[in-house]
Symmetry: C2
Subunit: 568 residues, 2 copies
């Protein structure tokens, strides 16, 4: 590389006639960019085996997504990376929290292995909260000793979002083991400080947690910055916090700010983009494009100690974008390690041969035989009802009069009171949680899915027991995925072969399958003003108020206790 | 620590009523600072075993010196740290280049061991250029394999200033070994890019070098910033670059700028300060005090990947200053790891028991018996003369008519042509370099010292051979130091017990000894408008133009060849 830098040897690639975005000084500069063996080796006047004419475009460092759960896209790391690439994301910091809750170490290893062949650089944080809570049964338990061997993997950066604040606060041993182990190896511990006040943030920072992506107000973001957290401004398919946080970006604060998506669905990713979308939004809100680009590049690299990423300069990885402009961030080409990987919205990556997947990943649905009787909910006239708050992952806890027959709850489309169940699917324990949900608005049939945060048990909602059973049986047959049934017939499926979370199909095919599934959902009357599948998958997350359901039954998040559906 | 942060347990120390300098947001904030086991565990409302009233003073992170050679202070690391502490420097990144050139690994180990007991945090970069050049004989040779074991020492951060640019440019194997070894362990490689142009800087950055402290013009500094170097603005006893570089400090650039001193003499350190002095100067030049403090704290910490330094926030080391104001940076108290180490200019550190020093350190002067004949310089009427350029480390190469007797050079105070010699003192090789120097202006007697950059052989200058020999013999007897002789008598000495570079005496005593030595220097007519000892010690550095002298003889830096004194 020194030989090439010193011009004794030709570069592999030289990009000429570009306007270089210098994130160190926030300037636009001229000069050729010389690339050799995947790294930038010089800015100036160079000759290479391949000469690329930027035709006056901006040469910008590749973008970095600070925190993402690939599983939310329903495709494999490789496929997800192929979709990210055209949007200029050349590095993403991934938390395989979902697959780890299903398949433990095997799940993490799959992500690492598949990511190795991805067209962009996927780095990993090790899931810190598997299982996520003690109020449900997950597929695996990961202690510090389980995580330790992964630290030697070159793609592993540290410990993923520490969600279990109570465990940190109380100094729970298994949590401290993970924190201290990580601090002994690296100092990268990601935060998840949802709703924490300053007193809690003090504890959280003291525990070595370095960043947070859960600030949803400017005040929260400032609290975090002031206490030394890097703040990730999240704009994904779930939370869209950028508009609320835009006011904190200024000359004083910007260096400790970066972007992330957290969760990004395929359709939105393809339609509006990802980190490029965040930059565009920031610019639309009046932020200097070079500040926004710094956030997406140098700042993110600094946050994660990635010293060879985030800039167009010698010694840095040749992860580059050619941008048509700095207003709309229109992306012409994307280069990763000196290779052109995408142009005008298309990634050139060819999927490697299908990986042989272990049984733990492909056979992840283990159900007992379920009978109608097991879905019965004994109630009186009144019962507890979970009411969906559309476009949030929260619910309201209500007491309502319900239809009762022979002492058992009967779903009612008229009252919008449907039956919901969570069935433990990892170890065939026979645990079945039952409840009543309002707001799902199905007019007929049933839906079921193996995506149910965070333990990803089987969750099903229905207007009648028969269709619910049909869905459950089909999910077992498919070994994971999403099913819609109506009148005893399967009318829509999306197989999720890998852990019941990710499809083995190409992203384009999954998009098509999702479209077909949406038609089936419409056929049973599922609402369209919010995402019914996303909403369903979060009804099992027992840390978000007020009422949730796990395989262990209905759960009152305000008292942190399981609770009976029947009102005495 | 979590217990204290969560207020379940009392803090060790709580500092109340302070105005906290927040370097993340560049704000002044209120709140108690709670400290436990040397770390900050909370900002807010706390109670501690010890309550400290800041009385409205500013609570500021401790300052960091980005690059310093302790040896230039003539005292041990512990003593130097004791002098630094009252000036608010709680961390210094040290390069033991000088002692390593004398005593190799033993020298580095001594610095590490002594530093362990210092009141402030001394971190070390491993000398990359021992010997500094092939045109002289140093006391040791350090290859990558010699340095490797030191990387496991907790105080070692990386590789020290890579001065041998030609070795980098040509890809010289021993240099590449050191660079790649360091990159495999840490990514911290310090630069020394004196005078390098953009083409050379490309090569230098490509080689993984991350910072530079040798920019002496704003243009040079900007070149370095733009290519991705952190730039240290140096203001020491030698180079004073801050005024020339002040114009580059702005909102765009500041985050990649920090301060260093490189070399700082005891008297100046005591009189004007060090990094505190740099901050004051910057403020006087119109820089926002909070920007200047960021440079001295957070920016420096980021540059060196010191994630728990450089800020007043939970999880950070309790290295704190109480400042009386933010205009003159008047320092009231200095805290290191939660301990009060200095107040109103006085450090409370008590020196530990004298370390037993190895012979390699205390017996470092190995001379052959030197006779007058060995100091003879055969010349014709004309000879090459090194002319000192005052207050620089450069010389001019001149040809002058000289006084000759029996074909041998005779020193002349009238012509200001004195004799100079460099005698190899590490391995008793018998190498003696001889030359003629102009500008030292002695009127009588002679001076000798074992500080002679970078190989630290014995260098002596005199008006007559007898006094030169007297000096040389006394240096051998003292085993290192500085000697002034006149008319056959020793009239001033400063013993430098450790490697001929550092005194084992307390700093205050060394200051007094230096004062006495100055009187002796005045007595033999040494100039006072520049530092004659400093100038003398750099006449042996064969990389600074135009004419220098090593133990191998006179050296022409323009042609990189040894050269005869006699002009044919």
């Amino acid at each position: 590389m020194i030989d090439v830098s010193a011009k004794r040897k030709l570069a592999d690639v030289v990009i000429k006639n570009g306007k270089i975005v210098n994130v160190f000084t926030r300037e636009i500069m001229s000069g050729d960019v010389a690339i050799y063996k995947g790294k930038i080796v010089g800015i100036g006047s160079y000759e290479g085996k391949k000469m690329v004419d930027a035709e006056g475009r901006y040469i910008c460092p590749g973008f970095i997504d600070g925190h993402i759960h690939i599983e939310s896209s329903l495709v494999t790391p490789q496929e997800f990376a192929r979709m990210l690439a055209p949007h200029g994301v050349t590095t993403a910091i991934c938390d395989p929290h979902e697959i780890a809750n299903v398949a433990g170490k095997e799940g993490i290893q799959f992500m690492l292995d598949d990511a190795k062949e991805a067209p962009i650089d996927l780095r990993f944080m090790l899931p810190s909260c598997v299982p996520a809570t003690s109020f449900e049964h997950a597929g695996a338990t990961l202690l510090a000793d389980d995580l330790a061997p992964f630290f030697s993997h070159p793609s592993v950066l540290g410990l993923a979002e520490v969600m279990d604040y109570p465990a940190v606060l109380t100094g729970e041993k298994q949590m401290l083991d993970k924190l201290t182990m990580t601090q002994n190896v690296t100092n990268q511990i990601d935060g998840h400080a949802a709703g924490l006040n300053i007193e809690a943030l003090n504890v959280y920072r003291t525990a070595g947690i370095r960043n947070d992506h859960e600030a949803v107000t400017a005040e929260e973001a400032l609290d975090r910055l002031r206490l030394g957290f890097y703040v990730m401004i999240r704009q994904g398919s779930g939370a869209k916090d950028l508009p609320a946080l835009i006011s904190i970006i200024n000359e004083q604060t910007a260096r400790r700010l970066l972007f992330c998506t957290d969760d990004k669905h395929l359709d939105e990713l393809i339609e509006e983009g990802t980190i490029d979308h965040s930059i565009r939004l920031a610019i639309q809100h009046g932020i200097d494009p070079l500040v926004a680009i710094q956030m997406a590049t140098l700042n993110a690299a600094e946050c994660f100690g990635l010293y060879t990423k985030g800039a167009v300069a010698p010694g840095y990885e040749a992860d580059l974008l050619l941008l048509n402009d700095l207003e709309t961030i229109s992306i012409y080409q994307v280069w990763r390690k000196g290779q052109l990987i995408a142009q005008n919205g298309t990634c050139f990556h060819k999927k490697q041969n299908d990986r042989t997947l272990s049984e733990q990943l492909t056979q992840s649905v283990h159900l007992p035989s379920i009978t109608k009787e097991q879905l019965q909910i004994p109630v009186n006239d009144q019962a507890l009802v979970m009411e969906i708050i559309p476009n949030t992952i929260m619910t309201k806890k209500r007491i309502e009069s319900v239809t009762v027959k022979n002492g058992l709850f009967v779903p009612s489309t008229a009252l919008d009171q449907l039956k919901i169940t969570v069935i433990e699917r990892h170890h065939r324990t026979g645990n079945i949680g039952l409840g009543i949900v309002k707001g799902m608005k199905l007019q007929r049939g049933a839906i079921a899915t193996t995506i149910a945060h965070d333990s990803h048990n089987l969750i099903a909602v229905g207007t009648n027991d028969e269709d619910m059973l049909t869905c459950i049986q089909e999910i077992e047959r498919m070994q994971g995925g999403i099913v819609v049934a109506d009148n005893g017939k399967i009318i829509g499926t999306l197989p999720l072969h890998i852990g019941g979370l990710m499809s083995k199909h190409p992203a384009e095919q999954v998009v098509e399958e999702l479209y077909q599934l949406e038609q089936a959902l419409k056929a049973v009357g599922a609402p369209t003003h919010f995402n019914p599948l996303l909403t369903l998958s979060f009804l099992a997350l027992p840390v978000i108020p007020e009422l949730k359901i796990t395989d262990m039954g209905l759960f009152d998040v305000t008292t942190f206790q399981h609770i009976s559906v029947a009102v005495q």
